[in-house]
């Protein structure tokens, strides 16, 4: 669950929150591309460290740590499976470059996860929807997206009430065989579904009452406007990606970080 936690927008203001969502998307995409472009452990560590200041400026340190904790288990699996498969397919030898390679894949995973986190943790769905609007996604899709996010906490509360009500009527979710336990979710799912249908009708009425769809030329309270910082970040992203492409194709690889040793 904490993996998903890292993708949930955290309310707040910071220079990173205030970035134009399009610029922020470009910035995180660059980080993403860099992570995929390089295999070298040294470069990947540099990219990961380069993300830390963004996390700090964005004041999402605590949420990011949660994401890392959530991703820790997956990281171990990535490291172990890579190392084990290398070990078995390369004649059951364990060398330092195998460790380095597995480690770089793990770091790459962390970099990707961090760039996702930076984007989603600091971009309010309102702004995201605005960016989608600018990208000419039809408003109906946009509205559905925002509504889905809006009702996550409402539905979570409702599910809790239903679980409480049915447990009070003697429903024991944690007892019985696997199949029996699945059947026990019927008294919880049915009210949830029926309530949602009822709710959707009420929502539709309220939408009508707020002139939804009155005009094709819908306006928006928020406008996206590129500021000086936005242009600077955009420029920096372009520079970084150009340097990276040059380094990847024209400069020699920095070589292994760990000196070559054969363990077994």
């Amino acid at each position: 669950m904490s993996l998903i936690e890292g993708l949930r927008f955290s309310w707040g203001t910071s220079p990173v929150h205030n970035l134009d969502p399009r610029v922020k998307f470009a910035m995180t995409s660059v980080l993403f591309v860099l992570a995929i472009m390089f295999f070298d452990l040294l470069y990947l560590i540099v990219i990961l460290l380069a993300q830390v200041p963004i996390v700090v400026v964005g004041r999402i340190g605590r949420e990011w740590m949660k994401t890392l904790k959530g991703g820790a288990f997956l990281s171990v699996i990535i490291f172990a499976t890579n190392l084990l498969s290398l070990f078995f397919f390369r004649g059951q030898h364990l060398t330092s470059d195998m460790i380095e390679f597995s480690l770089s894949l793990t770091i790459r995973f962390l970099v990707l996860m961090t760039s996702f986190s930076i984007f989603f943790l600091t971009t309010s769905p309102d702004k995201l929807s605005l960016a989608l609007e600018k990208a000419r996604i039809p408003y109906e899709f946009n509205f559905a997206f925002i509504t889905a996010i809006r009702f996550v906490p409402v539905l979570a509360d409702e599910a809790q009430s239903i679980i409480d009500a049915q447990r009070s009527r003697g429903l024991e979710l944690e007892r019985g065989s696997f199949l029996a336990r699945i059947r026990k979710y019927i008294p919880i799912l049915l009210p949830l579904i029926i309530n949602s249908i009822r709710r959707s009708l009420e929502l539709a009425e309220a939408m009508e009452s707020r002139a939804f769809g009155a005009t094709k030329k819908r306006t928006n309270l928020y406008e996206l406007k590129m500021g000086r910082i936005d242009y600077a970040v955009l420029l920096a992203s372009v520079v970084v990606v150009s340097v990276a492409v040059y380094a990847r194709f024209f400069l020699p690889s920095p070589g292994p970080l760990i000196p070559p040793i054969t363990f077994i």
Binding site: S124, D126, D164, S168, G170, L171, P191, S209, A211, T219
Partner: protein
């Protein structure tokens, strides 16, 4: 342009309106004729299912554009006929606000939600900013503008809903039971906001409410619906002075009831007062300072008998419990409470005071993080929820959070099966419970086709069926009309005579006062006062701390305290009697 020519005096003009929902057997609205003048504050009431909500839907064209069905007659609002104008166009002229605040908020931040309607209308950004600022200021949510909508309290959400409608600058605002989910303080703020809009901007308000005691003070016209027809229409004094509303199952506001009883005894009122303050002003000069006779009312013995507080052995013992939700909200702080076998207790306090969190500890849904809860000597933390629920039956606020079966009978069986009763016992219990709540005739019906009040009774039956020693009802009066509340009150008396320990969680002051339970007041996760109804309801400081407004009769008598009259009068009959005896004494 037509509206310019005719220059309508009435902002709402309805003639010969009939409406039948698709597939319904009979019409929901019958032969309605109604004119509302601009700037009126109309209170519309009537028993559940009388067609009030259907009427609202006609006003902004949800009927006939969203709901099909058969519509006859004409509805003209602000010069526009609903037949010719879609709801999205009507929205600029008439705004509709619904019962559940959650289902009318669309954006993630407050200001964005207020802007939603204007965005839909294509209003430019510059114009929008000014209007939404004004709307937020008028509804008192200006300082919440960049807050996340899901973090707001129920009252704040409902004021946001009003701001969002207000931003579209309609001439008429229609509210369909907007305060059902709110505590009295939240409700009063909503009414204050509406009164200001009405007074300062001449916005016509049509308010549908069951909470008459509070709402009647603001209205200058009352309309009573019954069975799709208007049965009464006029000033509050005239309408509630008539007998029809009571016969239709509409409660009479307590102050008007008191005035009526006094005038029946021969006391003449020039203006019928609508609130405690105006009543006291009206009556003060006629009341002599010293009275005849003493007020030995021998109430204590009666009280003890009613609440079952004969100090029998403890049923529920709560010792020093605290509870903090994962979100960091401290819902309970070191609560101690003992409830005895056969006692009748009401837990009161504003929304968020920790009432529901506390009762969830009674059957182990929540395990206390500190302190302990025992039920009949059993430590709740050490046994499963199911085994303690067998003794403590919890009935939640919203019946829709638990109904799921094909028919009512099956719904009632559900818990009995879970608890492992024998099949023949189950059948007997089902029969018994269905009879107890008078829903035997719906035995084979789907619970989903029943009305709100009936669904509530099914939920109650499904808990009472296993005959728990303790019955806990969370907000049993929400969304219930007067007749349904009266029925519930009688049912609670019945439970008490059966020796059940009964606990209700409620912020319905008048209902609780009428029930005369032991009252436990909560505020900020703590018990701030605990005692018999008369004592708690006259403890102004404790009530204020718990944000509970005293009942109307107490309000009257607390202002008459320097006349040597008792202050703890709750019953209207007794109040009328006391005041009349004092006045008659003066005449002699």
């Amino acid at each position: 342009m037509r509206s310019m020519v005719e220059a309508p005096l009435s902002i709402v003009d309805i003639s010969d309106l009939w409406y039948t929902y698709p597939g319904a057997q009979g019409p929901s609205l019958k032969d309605l004729h109604l004119k509302v003048k601009g700037g009126e504050f109309v209170l519309l009431t009537g028993p559940s299912g009388c067609g009030k909500t259907t009427f609202c839907r006609c006003l902004n064209g949800l009927i006939p554009h969203f709901y099909n069905g058969e519509l006859k007659g004409a509805v003209v609002v602000d010069g526009l006929s609903i037949a010719d104008h879609p709801t999205s166009e009507m929205a600029k002229h008439v705004g509709l606000i619904f019962q559940n605040p959650d289902n009318q908020i669309f954006a993630l931040t407050v200001e964005k939600d207020v802007a939603f309607g204007l965005e839909n209308l294509g209003v430019s950004k510059g114009e929008m900013v000014e209007t939404i600022d004004w709307a937020m200021r008028m509804t008192g949510i200006g300082d919440l503008r960049s807050r996340a909508t899901h973090e707001l309290s129920g009252g704040q959400k409902q004021r946001l809903a009003i701001a969002s409608i207000l931003a579209m600058q309609p001439k008429v605002i229609v509210l369909d039971e907007p305060t059902s989910f709110l505590d009295p303080v939240g409700a009063e703020r909503i009414f204050e906001v509406l009164a200001t809009l009405n007074r300062e901007y001449g916005i016509t308000i049509i308010l549908i409410e069951h909470r008459l005691d509070l709402a009647v003070r603001y209205a200058n016209r009352v309309i009573v619906f019954n069975d799709g027809e208007i049965i009464e229409d006029g000033s509050p004094a005239k309408v509630f002075g008539a007998d029809e509303p009571r016969l239709a199952g509409v409660g009479i506001p307590k102050i008007i009831e008191l005035t009526k009883r006094l005038s029946r005894k021969g006391v003449i009122f020039e203006d019928i007062p609508l609130g405690a303050d105006s009543f006291v002003d009206e009556i003060r000069d006629r009341l002599p300072m010293v009275g005849t006779g003493t007020f030995d009312r021998r109430r204590m013995a009666e009280y003890e008998e009613l609440t079952g507080a004969q100090r029998s052995e403890p049923m529920i013992e709560v010792k020093g419990i605290s509870y903090t939700y994962p979100s960091g909200v401290r819902a309970l702080r070191n609560v101690d409470l003992t409830i005895h076998r056969g006692e009748f207790v009401a837990i009161m306090g504003e929304n968020g005071a920790g009432k529901t969190t506390l009762v969830k500890h009674f059957n182990g849904l929540l395990k206390s993080q500190e302190g302990s809860v025992t039920v009949d000597g059993i430590d709740v933390a050490k046994v499963s929820v199911a085994s303690i629920a067998r003794r403590v039956g919890l009935v939640f606020q919203n019946p829709d959070d638990q109904l799921f079966s094909e028919d009512v009978e099956e719904e009632v069986r559900f818990a009995l099966r879970n608890f492992g009763f024998d099949e023949d016992v189950i059948e007997k219990r089902v029969d018994w419970a269905l009879n107890l709540l008078d829903i035997e005739r719906y035995r084979k019906s789907s619970p989903f086709i029943l009305s709100g009040g009936e669904r509530k009774r099914v939920a109650l039956a499904s808990v009472l069926a296993w005959d728990p020693d303790v019955v806990v009802l969370d907000e049993p009066t929400i969304g219930q009309d007067y007749a349904q509340k009266e029925r519930l009150r009688h049912f609670l008396i019945q439970l008490r005579t059966q020796g059940k320990t009964t606990i209700i969680v409620s912020h319905d002051v008048e209902f609780v006062a009428d029930c005369r339970p032991r009252i436990v007041l909560m505020a900020e996760g703590q018990v701030v006062a605990d005692g018999p109804t008369e004592r708690i309801m006259t403890d102004a400081a404790a009530l204020k701390r718990a944000s509970v407004a005293p009942p109307e009769m107490i309000r009257v008598f607390s202002r008459l305290s320097d006349y040597g009259l008792p202050t703890d009068v709750i019953d209207v009959e007794e109040a009328a009697d006391l005041l009349y005896r004092r006045m008659r004494g003066a005449e002699r």
